[in-house]
Amino acid sequence: PGDDFGKEYLFIGSSFEETPLLVAVLTYMGYGILTIFGYLRDFLRDWKIERCHIAREREEQRDFVPLYQDFENFYTRNLYMRIRDSWNRPICSVPGAKVDLVERVSHDYNWTFDYTGRVVGGVINMGSYNYLGFAENTGYCAEAAAEVTMKYGVGVASTRQEMGNLDRHEEMEALVAKFLGVESAIAFGMGFATNSMNIPALSGKGCLILSDELNHASLVLGARLSGSTIRVFKHNNMQSLEKMLRDAIVHGQPRTHRPWKKILILVEGIYSMEGSIVRLPEVIALKKRFGAYLYLDEAHSIGALGPAGRGVVDYFGLDPRDVDVMMGTFTKSFGAAGGYIGGRRELIDYLRVHSHSAVYATSMSPPVVEQIITSMKCIMGEDGTTLGEFRVKRLAENTVYFRRKMTEMGFIIYGNSDSPVVPMMLYLPAKIGAFGREMLKRNIGVVVVGFPATPIIESRARFCISAAHTKDMLDTALCVISEVGDLLQVKYSRHRRLPSLDRAFDHSIYDEIQD
C-alpha cells in the first residue's frame, strides 16, 4: 500500500452500511422493554420492596434541593448499571498487545465489585489506543524515561509562563514541529484541555465555528467556551459544509448581517466512534475557496495514518501548511500523555502568550516529555533504527487484514478501510453487555459503546488495531469474534464479500527486524 495512499482509493474504501430494518425495530423494542422494567424497578425501590443500593443524601441535608433529578439518572440506574462490568476494567500491567486484568466479581448485579485477588493474564488487548505499540516498559524509550525520572523527578509545580518551562519542553516542541512539517509547535499536559483551552483563544464573539456532527466532546466544549456562533454540518459531508460556508459569507451574522470576523472549521483526522477519515483534500479546497481557517484534531490519526506516520495530511500527500491549526495528542500513538498544537510561528507565539494552559496550568512532567521525544525520534527514524518505519507499515498491514477479514465474516463494519479504529455494529442493547462478557470469557478484551456516546440504536463494539499485534494474535481474535458473533447473531451484513483473491497477505512483514 506504499504509493496507493492516494485519493482514488480512499473514498471507495469507506462504508457505512445501513441498519437493517428488522434490527432497528428489535432495538427500539429492546429499549422499550428495558425502560418499562426500569420504571417497575424504580417503583419497587421506592416502596422498599426491593433493596436499594443507590447512595442517598445525608439526613441533615434532606430538605435541600435534590442534587440530581430522577430522570437524569434513570438511564444510569436502570440500563447502565446492568452491564457496568464491561467498562472501567482495572488492569495491572502495561497496556500493550496483551494485558493483565484484575479479576473482579459482583454479587449484587454490578452495584458493587469485589476483587478476588486473582489476575486474568494474557488477555489480548483490542481496546487500548496503542496504535504504534509504544506502550511498553522495556526498550529504549522506557530507559530514557527512567533516566529522566531519576534526574528531574516527576513534578514541575509551576506553569509554563512562571517557573515551569524546562529546556526539555522547548526541545520537545521543536521536535514536534519538525515531525509535523510546520514552523512551530506548543505542547500541553492534557489532550482534552488542549482543545477546550485553545479554541477560545482563537475564536470569540463575532466569529463562526463550523463543527462536524460527530466531533469529540473536547472540541464541542472548546467551541462553546469560545462564545462564537456554532453551526454543525453533517458528518464528513462536503455539500453540507459548502452550503454552510456559502450561506455564512453571503448572509453574514444573524439579524445584523454584519460580516463574520473569521470562520473556523473544526474537523478530526479519524473519528473514533465511526472509524471514518476526514475528506481532507476537499475540506482544504473549500477552505481556500471561501477564506475560512481549518482546525484539524489529529488525536487518533497522528502516527497511525500515512506512509511515514505523520498523520492524515501525510496520508493524502498534502502540504501541512494548508492546515492552519494542526492539533493532536500524544496519548495514542506515542504512549505518553498530553496534546500539542502546530502551525505558523505567529499562531504559536500568540498561543504562548494567550493560551489558558500556558498561564494557569502546570507544565508537563519530565518523564512524559522524554517518552514523547524518544518515541517521536523513533518514528522519524532519527534514533538510527528502522523500528519506527517497521511499526507504521505493520499497523497499516494489520488494519487492512483485520478489516477485510471482518467484512468477509459478515459483520457490519463502519469507517474507512485504512483506519485502525474498527467499529463493529451490535445494535441491540442486550448484545452490548453480552459481547463484552463473552469476549472476556475467551480472553479477549474489547470496548463496547452504547448511548450516549453513539446514537441510541447504533451501539457498537470498537476494536483498536495496534502495531504490537502479531498475525497470530489477530487470527486468534478473529476466530473468537466469529464464534461469539455466531453465538450472538451479530453478523448482520447483507453484502457478503468473497474472500479477496487479489493480494495475498504479506507474511514477510512479520520477520523480526534486528535493531
Binding site: 531519576m150 528531574y152 523527578g153 513534578g155 529546556d167 453571503v250 473569521k262 477564506g291 507565539d349 512524559v368
Partner: protein, 488 residues
C-alpha cells in the same frame, strides 16, 4: 400524515390541505336540499377555498433571498477574514519564558544561573525526594509511561484505584476521584452538578479554573465580595425573596457556593465556619477548592477543614490539585459517594480524557505516605511561612499580601503608577535583579483580558520546607535592595 421538518416546502401545507379536503367531503356528504341558506353559502365558500388551495402556488418559508447568483459570488470574493491571530510584539512581557535547565527543585538553574527557588509551588519539598522518585521509577518499569486510554476503556490501573482509596482515607471521606490534569479538576466538577438554571455564588477572587468551570456550566453566577460573608448573606436573602415569588421553580433550582481554602490570588483563607452556618440556614451546597491548602493547613495537612475543625461531611465537594504540595501531576475530588460517584459518568475531564500516567499516581501515593508518616512537616512549613512573612515586612515601596501561614505570598506595589504595563515592567525589573543575585522569583501571571476581576500585578513568593534561615534572609535582603534601587 406526518409533519415533515424540511423547511419551507409544500409538504408543510399538505396535511392542512388534507384536513380541509376531508372536512369538505364530510360536509358534502351531509349535504341535503332541506339545508338552510347559510349552510349552502358556507359549503360554497369552503369548496371555492379548496379549489384555490389546490391551484395556488406553494411558497417557501425559507429565506426569500433577493440576491442573484452573481451577487453572491461577488460577496464571497470580497469577504476578507481577520487574520487567525493578531500579531504579538517580540517584547511582550509573556513572550519570552524563563528557561529552567535541570530539575526544578530547591537549587534551580534559571537562564543559566544557579538560583534558590522561591517560585515553584514545591511546599513540602517533594519534587526531588528520593523515595518518590524510586516509586515512580518502579511504576515505570512495571507499567510504562502512558495509559493509552480513558478510565472507561482499559485505562484504569490498580494504581489509580489505590490512589483514590488512599486519598479518601487521608481526607476521611467516603470516596475520591482522580483527574489527569489539575486545571481540569474543578473545571469538570462544577459543570457536572450545576446546569443551566442553577445558581452559583462565587467569591470574586476565585481562580481561573473555577471561572472556566462556571462558564461551561451555563448557570447563573453571582459574585460576592472577597471573603465578605455579609455580602454573601445579602445575595442569599435576595435569592430567598425571589424564591418566594416562584416556589415551584425554587424547588428544582440547585444552589452552590464555590470558595477556595487558600486563595491563590490573594493568599488569604476563607471563613469556613461562617460559611457552613450560611449553608444550613439558606440550604446551599458548598464546593471547596483546596489546591493551595491541601498538604499545607491543618495539623495533618488535611486542609482548611482541619484547620478550622469543621466536620468534613459538611462540605459537599472538596477539589484539589496534586501539583503543589503533593508534587505530582493531576487533581482529585473527594467527598461522599453520593456526590462523587456522579462525576464518573458526567465529569467531562474524567470520561473523555486519558487517565493519569501510573508513574505519576505512584509518585502521589508515596508523597501521601510521606505526609502521613511525618506530620511535623506541616508545622515546619508553617514556621517557615511566618519567617518569610516577617522578613518581607517593611520592604520599601511594596506590601506583602497574604496570611502569615500561607506559603504562596504576593508582593504588590504599595502605590501603583497608574498604568498596569508600567507596574508590570517595574516588577519584572525587580525579578530580574533578584535572578542576577541568584534568587529565583516570578511574576504572578494572569490573562488580562479573560479574568473577570483582574488582580493587581504582583510578584509571587513561595515558601518551601527546604529553604533555610540563611536562604530566607538572603532573599529578603535581596528583594529589599531591588526595591530600593528600582522603586526610588
Amino acid at each position: 400524515m406526518a409533519w415533515v421538518e424540511v423547511p419551507g416546502q409544500e409538504k408543510v401545507l399538505k396535511p392542512l390541505l388534507n384536513t380541509v379536503i376531508i372536512l369538505g367531503l364530510i360536509k358534502c356528504a351531509n349535504f341535503s336540499p332541506q339545508a338552510p341558506a347559510y349552510h349552502l353559502i358556507l359549503e360554497g365558500i369552503l369548496i371555492l377555498w379548496i379549489v384555490r388551495l389546490l391551484f395556488s402556488k406553494t411558497y417557501k418559508l425559507q429565506e426569500r433571498s433577493d440576491l442573484t447568483e452573481k451577487e453572491k459570488e461577488d460577496l464571497i470574493e470580497e469577504w476578507q477574514p481577520e487574520p487567525l491571530v493578531p500579531p504579538v510584539s517580540k517584547d511582550h512581557p509573556s513572550m519570552n519564558y524563563d528557561i529552567v535547565s535541570g530539575p526544578p527543585s530547591h537549587n534551580i538553574v534559571v537562564n543559566g544561573k544557579q538560583c534558590i527557588n522561591f517560585a515553584s509551588f514545591n511546599f513540602l519539598g517533594l519534587l526531588d525526594n528520593e523515595r518518590v522518585k524510586q516509586k515512580a521509577l518502579a511504576s515505570l518499569k512495571k507499567y510504562g509511561v502512558g495509559t493509552c486510554g480513558p478510565r472507561g476503556f482499559y485505562g484504569t490501573f490498580d494504581v489509580h484505584l489505590e490512589l483514590e482509596d488512599r486519598l479518601a482515607k487521608f481526607m476521611r471521606t467516603e470516596e475520591a476521584i482522580i483527574y489527569s490534569y489539575g486545571f481540569a479538576t474543578i473545571a469538570s466538577a462544577i459543570p457536572a452538578y450545576s446546569k443551566r438554571g442553577d445558581i452559583v455564588f462565587v467569591d470574586e477572587a476565585a481562580c481561573f479554573s473555577i471561572q472556566k468551570g462556571l462558564q461551561a456550566s451555563r448557570s447563573f453566577i453571582k459574585y460576592f465580595k472577597h471573603n465578605d460573608m455579609e455580602d454573601l448573606e445579602r445575595l442569599l436573602k435576595e435569592q430567598e425573596i425571589e424564591d418566594q415569588k416562584n416556589p415551584r421553580k425554587a424547588r428544582v433550582t440547585r444552589r452552590f457556593v464555590v470558595v477556595e481554602g487558600l486563595y491563590i490570588n490573594t493568599a488569604d483563607v476563607c471563613p469556613l465556619p461562617a460559611l457552613v452556618k450560611l449553608k444550613y440556614k439558606y440550604k446551599v451546597r458548598i464546593f471547596l477548592e483546596e489546591s493551595m491548602s491541601f498538604g499545607v493547613l491543618g495539623e495533618h495537612g488535611r486542609g482548611v477543614t482541619e484547620h478550622f475543625g469543621v466536620n468534613i461531611d459538611d462540605i459537599d465537594l472538596i477539589s484539589a490539585n496534586m501539583e503543589n504540595a503533593v508534587a505530582s501531576i493531576g487533581g482529585f475530588c473527594c467527598g461522599r459517594s453520593f456526590v462523587i460517584d456522579h462525576q464518573r459518568l458526567s465529569g467531562q475531564g474524567y470520561c473523555f480524557s486519558a487517565s493519569l500516567p501510573p508513574m505519576l499516581a505512584a509518585a502521589a501515593i508515596e508523597a501521601l505516605n510521606i505526609m502521613e508518616e511525618d506530620p511535623d512537616i506541616f508545622s515546619v512549613l508553617r514556621e517557615k511561612c511566618e519567617q518569610v512573612h516577617k522578613a518581607l515586612q517593611g520592604t520599601p515601596g511594596m506590601k506583602v499580601l497574604g496570611e502569615s501561614y500561607a506559603p504562596a505570598l504576593h508582593l504588590q506595589l504599595e502605590s501603583s503608577s497608574g498604568s498596569r504595563e508600567t507596574d508590570v515592567r517595574m516588577l519584572r525589573r525587580i525579578v530580574d535583579y533578584c535572578l542576577e543575585k541568584q534568587i529565583a522569583l516570578t511574576l504572578a501571571r494572569y490573562l488580562d483580558k479573560e479574568e473577570r476581576f483582574l488582580p493587581p500585578p504582583s510578584i509571587r513568593v513561595v515558601v518551601t520546607v527546604e529553604q533555610t534561615k540563611e536562604d530566607i534572609d538572603r532573599a529578603a535582603s535581596c528583594i529589599r535592595e531591588a526595591a530600593l534601587s528600582i522603586l526610588k
